[in-house]
Symmetry: D2
Subunit: 131 residues, 4 copies
Amino acid sequence: MKYTTKSITVRYGETDQMRFVHHSNYFKYFELARLEWLSKMNISYAQMEKEGILMPVVKASIIYKTPLFFGDTFRVVVTLNRVPKATLEFSYQIINQNNKIICTGNTVLAFLSQKKKLPMRCPNFLLEKFN
Amino acid sequence: MKYTTKSITVRYGETDQMRFVHHSNYFKYFELARLEWLSKMNISYAQMEKEGILMPVVKASIIYKTPLFFGDTFRVVVTLNRVPKATLEFSYQIINQNNKIICTGNTVLAFLSQKKKLPMRCPNFLLEKFN
Amino acid sequence: MKYTTKSITVRYGETDQMRFVHHSNYFKYFELARLEWLSKMNISYAQMEKEGILMPVVKASIIYKTPLFFGDTFRVVVTLNRVPKATLEFSYQIINQNNKIICTGNTVLAFLSQKKKLPMRCPNFLLEKFN
Amino acid sequence: MKYTTKSITVRYGETDQMRFVHHSNYFKYFELARLEWLSKMNISYAQMEKEGILMPVVKASIIYKTPLFFGDTFRVVVTLNRVPKATLEFSYQIINQNNKIICTGNTVLAFLSQKKKLPMRCPNFLLEKFN
């Protein structure tokens, strides 16, 4: 289970005065990658939220190898590590226009019932998509 | 009707590669100033939202005079321009540690009923606070 | 002088708890639109910065008509208002997937010599491109 | 070696439509905590950068236990894990107004010579401060 995003251009406002992308922004790139993937699988996360299912990040980690600069373009490769039960585990690679690996990372997402404010199992329609 | 925030330190991640604060962040400083003010007047905006009253920004403008740098400290002076009816008009001045004016700005906020998705008049409890 | 960006998808992290895009982010959309335009005209702003020419925003304004939501796609239409001398004036329209106007705005950018920390005139190579 | 920041209020724009702080922002809180600490030790990171020493994050991880909401106040407890050689290792705890642990995390920072674009050892003046 693997997906590669379309090419994304680094935005000016994503840099900081170190002159490359602020380290917190890579987690936003991971996020858009996994949501773009869900969307490609006809899973609308927006719709899931309307039905009261939230998917908060409960764990995240990243190793930075080399920076992304303003104007660079990159792709995110997302992998679903295992078929979800209570959590979804994704791993990520960001690769720039020269096929250089920028960083690798990992996030664990939980399922949360908005009403009950309690963790819940992975909804069946998601399990089916992933199997 | 005027309020001055406590001193705020510029955060590293608020800069961009121009080596000063990204221009969009000043609107976040304006926002925290008006919310800090409401809070000091015992108006909880968080509570207002729970009761279904949103206050979206419908208009904003800013003139930048000189930049804020990482490590600078600043205060925001907020003024309520007139007693609200359908909208709240605030003006702002950001002033750094040397009493230099960094920028001046203006925002207009509307009242929105979250349920009806429709504009509404300024709630009475707010009018009373402002009078 | 007018340019329309390619279609852009609203990112999750660009929303706030009002459940639509935070008002400060539209200025980032304006920014990426004018930089995408420059890039299409073979003007590399990254290169300009390396040569010590900065283009800070000195004035900005916006009128919000209706919000952008997570998952919406939009285009930014940028117009250069007049041939630049000391400043560049752009105006903007953001238009969503249903051709609804989301907001209109305006920014004025100056030219700044990084070395001298002083305003400068519009560089000739830019003037030529714009004429 | 341990430091606790002063109390910080969650800003509205730091939330997303999940109605609590976006997961990427906690890394910004970690950042301001370690920089506030350096500043308290009379180490100006702004000055270090002017002298060409950058401290990029090369590794980061976080475990989220419970969310921070708009209006919450929190402190960050930072610990320096060991006396630095080539890298600085900090660990973090964010604790809210009710002494609840919000999240724990870890970052590794390297030293980078801006001129040579190469890793460097921890500067002596920093080692002395930490010993």
